[in-house]
Symmetry: none
């Protein structure tokens, strides 16, 4: 692929990421993406076959980017076990905050039936594998509950970090909690961490 083509492809992907993230698959307009990318509409079809293909490519790119960010969790070691809950939670909250496309695309994808994300399976495996090992070590050393499997632990953290950013708007309306404000987030995160601590008292 020529240099120019690579640039074009990147421009399209960038524009598409924004547009799809903002408006979802159906709401996004191919014309808008092309215009935003500053390329001819046809380039889009030549590169990605069609709108769905482009969406899938965007999904893949975003997931890949995210996986890279997530990798910092791989650096956690045995010594971090006592603070593991907080470290993981902070990582995910930060990640969702800095990359709103992530939760947004996830949300669109789930709403639209997961049609486009097939074939993305297992992208974040290594991180989860690593965390599982640490968690199970922590169970043995008495830092985590023996009767709570890793799945239950990580699931709670994933849910909380995602929900905190994704449902900000309606959450504010129904509960009054404004998760846009850092101090509110801090309170909620601390609450979660405290609740998940072994030395609950």
């Amino acid at each position: 692929m020529q240099q120019r083509a690579i640039q074009t492809r990147h421009a399209i992907l960038a524009a598409a990421r924004t547009e799809f993230s903002l408006k979802g698959f159906h709401g996004a307009r191919v014309d808008t993406i092309a215009a935003e990318a500053g390329v001819n509409k046809q380039r889009l079809y030549a590169n990605f076959k069609n709108k769905a293909g482009l969406f899938a490519a965007v999904l893949k790119a975003v997931f890949t980017d995210l996986a890279r960010e997530e990798n910092e969790l791989l650096k956690l070691s045995m010594r971090d076990i006592p603070r593991l809950t907080k470290l993981i939670l902070d990582c995910y909250v930060s990640l969702h905050t800095r990359h709103p496309e992530f939760w947004r695309l996830l949300a669109w994808e789930n709403l639209e039936g997961g049609q486009h994300s097939a074939g993305l399976a297992g992208l974040k495996d290594p991180v989860l594998t690593h965390l599982r090992r640490l968690y199970e070590r922590g169970q043995k050393s008495g830092h985590f509950l023996k009767n709570v499997p890793f799945e239950g632990f990580i699931f709670n953290l994933l849910a909380v970090s995602y929900f905190m950013v994704s449902n900000r708007l309606t959450l504010k309306q129904s509960t009054g909690l404004d998760c846009s404000r850092p101090e509110v987030r801090k309170i909620l995160c601390e609450a979660v961490v405290r609740q998940l601590r072994k030395d609950y008292k």
Copy 2:
């Protein structure tokens, strides 16, 4: 309003609820809604001004319905405090399972900036107020952590119950967890309940 007109309005709302829930605002088709409702398209415009108006009306109706369902939580009393976590979680999971429109519309709404749900604020206040009273009572009686405010407690439950159904599809792909299966849900819920229990050991 005549009897017939009321029926028409109801038929439209019911069809629109299904269609919007399934495909979101942009994906939903006015023609489909009218056809599904068995009425002429013009009826739709006479009743709801336009597509956006109809969406707002659906949102309002769904939220009202849900608030009614949620009211069963008002029946909880002091005696239920020991099992409060489980009771609330089960209630929300069940609610999301039986009424997928709820999380779906919430998701659309959050993605689209909460444009349509303005003015729906405070609809579920009484329930939260009631639960807060029970929780704080529980804190005093030693059932809940003193340093975890009600907001943190309920937030965790809301997040987990929502996430479990809303992110089923991508969750399965990224973690392998299939939350469609009741046994998986049970495991996750139990894990959450165990983690949030005071008598953690």
Copy 3:
């Protein structure tokens, strides 16, 4: 269907007949048809589902019209047996001359694989049945060859009449024969009739 809708439908069909006949399925433009018919493009889709549906409808209409014209052959009786060859040939040549859409649509259809004409089978049966009866009577009365079945007889006439008009242009270039000129047609038709006569000498 309302009066207005009927008019619309007719206008579309008329315009489509011209356009498809002139340019074939692929060459014809939906926009052109709609413009020519003086209606909104969408009317076309509401009435005929899509371009292919419209083409099929046109084919059906043309075949029906033609069948009506062909019916004059049903008036032939026993007394016409001696001149049967000439009468049939003249009828078909005249028909193809007056309704060029017929051979043209046939030609497009054959070129494009007959996709659109499925379900038109048997439309001209009654005429062929009638002619077969006359021909077989003529065989017994010695007007036609005993060892030439009706199929062979009618096939020759169909071929000649069709070819004469359909292949005018290339025929002129390759043989010099200009079938546009009535006198040339007359010569060719007479030749065919003479060749097909029993009393060949």
Copy 4:
């Protein structure tokens, strides 16, 4: 022209012949032709100016090829006069069967007003001249009708052989005759030959 360039040109022509024959001028795709030929699209424009030019070139090539095939008719001699009808008919039917591009391109050309084939006039003259001599010899020797000129004779054969293959699809639908089947073709050809024989009885 270099060896390589000649190969390219041939590859394009071969691919174009297939594509145009199958889908006609409008239905054919330049991309498909280039891909099928295994060359860059630009090669196509460098060699043939544009799509129409390529079509004309294909037409010319096909007609030339066909003329070559037709030349076997030049081998016919006086001794073949008694079976002349059958020999010519068989030759043309065989030719149309083996080279469907021929009738197809003829058909497209006639439908589209003969725009592309101008300048191809007289390509098959020598064959027709030869056959005319044989036929007129046969008329004198009593093998053919004195009052049927050569034009009438050859026209009937051209029409029948062309129609048999070109109108197969619609013919089957309107008459039930399936000219794809060799036995049906045989029956029809025999019928034609019998009808055109002098010794009609």
